[in-house]
């Protein structure tokens, strides 16, 4: 006799089978392909691909962009979470919705909006040209576009976390005479540090992998593009081995990010914010 709430055995096998097939076919297989193709010529060739001048400059630029974007967005995330969870003010719901915008909007739009300000026909374009300031097709624009696309991650991780932790400890610290900074560093930060890390690694992964916004803002000048764009360049020039080598690096980044993310979730230090609200 079957339990009242058990599914038919056929449904069970079918469902699990389809799940395995889908994951294998759609997810695991492409990943294996990248790794295989990258190392096809052997380890020495692989290293030489990675140290090619264009690859190196792309890696360098990607790291530099992340170095600017991640701290900026982290500071923003902490500020926004602090404001939202500790205070009542009008427009709070609107603020929270605004923070979600980049998740709904195409990254190309994320690049477009800055091009419309800083590009040649942009609002500030002529002025910038006249003063010789290079923003579009250069580092500042890339940072701005990438920041737009990735800024929700830290905030979205922290807000639910801080809401569930509550204000009690901070209020206690206040009554004991702590000032703002002491409050934050001694009381709040220890509670939220894993949530911050969690948001930061997701922000970082997204920032390093960002393609759409950077496509618009960086153009295709060889020395001034990030890794994802460089992969595209190699690909368009039929230079597949180099494309795969660079792609494998980004894949490694994803793997590490995923591992840390899962580790934090299993240790119950952070909720899964890939799950939408």
């Amino acid at each position: 006799m079957r339990r009242a709430t058990a599914d038919h055995w056929l449904a069970r096998y079918l469902f699990i089978g389809i799940l395995f097939a889908f994951v294998l076919f759609f997810l695991i297989f492409p990943v294996c392909v990248v790794v295989f193709e990258a190392f096809r010529g052997g380890f020495a060739m692989y290293l030489s691909y990675l140290t090619a001048p264009h690859s190196l400059s792309a890696i360098r630029l990607t790291l530099l962009v992340a170095l600017a974007v991640v701290p900026l967005n982290t500071v923003f995330g902490v500020c926004a979470a602090w404001a939202v969870t500790h205070f009542k003010f009008r427009g709070k719901a609107l603020l929270i919705s605004l923070i979600e915008i980049p998740l709904w909007v195409s990254p190309v739009i994320g690049g477009l909006i800055f091009a419309l300000i800083f590009g040649r026909q942009g609002f500030l374009g002529p002025w910038l040209d006249a003063h010789g300031i290079q923003i579009m097709f250069a580092y500042p624009a890339i940072v701005l576009g990438t920041a737009f696309v990735t800024f929700p991650f830290v905030a979205r991780g922290l807000i639910p976390l801080m809401q569930s932790q509550g204000n009690a400890e901070e209020e206690a610290a206040l009554t004991l005479g702590a000032n703002g900074w002491q409050l934050f560093w001694r009381v709040s930060f220890p509670k939220i540090k894993w949530g911050i890390l969690y948001g930061m690694i997701l922000c970082n992964a997204r920032a390093m992998g960002e393609f759409g916004a950077v496509s618009v803002l960086a153009g295709s000048v060889d020395d001034r593009i990030t890794m994802p764009l460089q992969i595209e360049q190699y690909y368009l020039n039929f230079n597949l081995p180099q494309a795969f080598a660079l792609a494998s690096l980004l894949l490694l980044l994803s793997a590490v990010t995923l591992a840390i993310k899962i580790g934090l979730e299993w240790l119950r230090l952070a909720p899964n914010i890939a799950r939408p609200h």
Binding site: A4, T5, I18
Partner: protein, 279 residues
């Protein structure tokens, strides 16, 4: 509690600098006269012309049509995946559960490159076989784009369904069984209605994601105008042609459609919460 002005101030400043002002620029661009379009009417006229041009319409159809189809695929596979992951115990369940986030963590360019390599006609792992056996062409056709969109949208449906499935009290299913419902009836009348808001939300999220997707499509699409050109591509082409106003117009069109999707999702969730009495 200290820090109100500091944190709120910085938050508003940052949001303005990164989001509000640039988005404002987008809207402004569509109504600001320029050298080529000296009056507000001509500017708006150009915007409307570009946004409703056949090429643009074809791109909308492709972007939205394919994203919607991909979202439906993901509704089907995502449902099966969420069900199996929350309700069955089997070897490798935890690993599979972790892998669901893979498309979310992987850069779109890497995904695009990998999928193209798998599905291209010459030298593609599967693409070559499929081409020789069935004459199918996947890469560089809308099919390739569809596969890429299914890939990136998959986590959204699964992750939206899982918490709702977890929360379904087993007593409700037991009650249905005691009342004489067999398993299929229980599913159709009790379980599925409870899940449908979440399913709808997941589909809309996957849909919204697909519409905006660019990185993976660039690799697997041949980008032929009117055939395999998606709207983000068209925007970039307009920028390259220095038609900033036209690009802004297309961007605005996409933005409006994105907001429509968000509004729909919020409505669905609000309605579902009201029904359950948890507002």
């Amino acid at each position: 509690m200290p820090g109100f002005h500091l944190t709120l101030g910085f938050t508003i400043f940052y949001l303005s600098a990164i989001v509000l002002i640039p988005l404002g620029a987008l809207v402004l661009k569509t109504v600001t006269p320029t050298a080529d379009y000296p009056s507000v009417f001509t500017v708006v006229g150009h915007v409307v012309r570009v946004a409703t041009d056949v090429r643009a319409l074809d791109s909308y159809r492709l972007s939205f049509g394919l994203s919607f189809t991909a979202a439906l695929f993901n509704a089907f596979f995502g449902f099966i995946a969420a069900w199996a992951l929350t309700r069955y115990r089997f070897h490798g369940r935890r690993v599979l559960d972790a892998l669901v986030d893979l498309p979310f963590a992987m850069p779109t360019s890497v995904a695009g490159l990998a999928l193209t390599q798998v599905f291209s006609n010459n030298g593609g792992y599967l693409g070559q076989l499929l081409h020789e056996w069935f004459g199918w062409q996947i890469a560089y056709t809308p099919w390739g784009i569809l596969i890429a969109l299914i890939f990136i949208g998959f986590p959204f449906v699964v992750r939206t369904l899982q918490p709702v499935l977890d929360d379904l009290a087993v007593e409700v299913e037991e009650a249905a069984a005691c009342l004489g419902a067999n398993r299929w009836q229980t599913f159709r009348r009790v379980i599925f209605p409870a899940l449908s808001p979440a399913l709808l939300t997941g589909v809309m999220l996957a849909f919204g994601r697909g519409v905006g997707e660019y990185g993976s499509i660039v690799f697997i699409s041949s980008m032929i105008p009117y055939a395999t050109e998606i709207t983000p591509q068209l925007i970039i082409i307009k920028l390259e042609e220095f038609d900033y106003v036209g690009a802004a117009g297309l961007g605005l069109a996409m933005l409006i459609m994105s907001f429509a999707i968000v509004a729909t999702v919020n409505l669905v969730q609000h309605y579902a919460a009201k029904r359950k009495g948890t507002t």
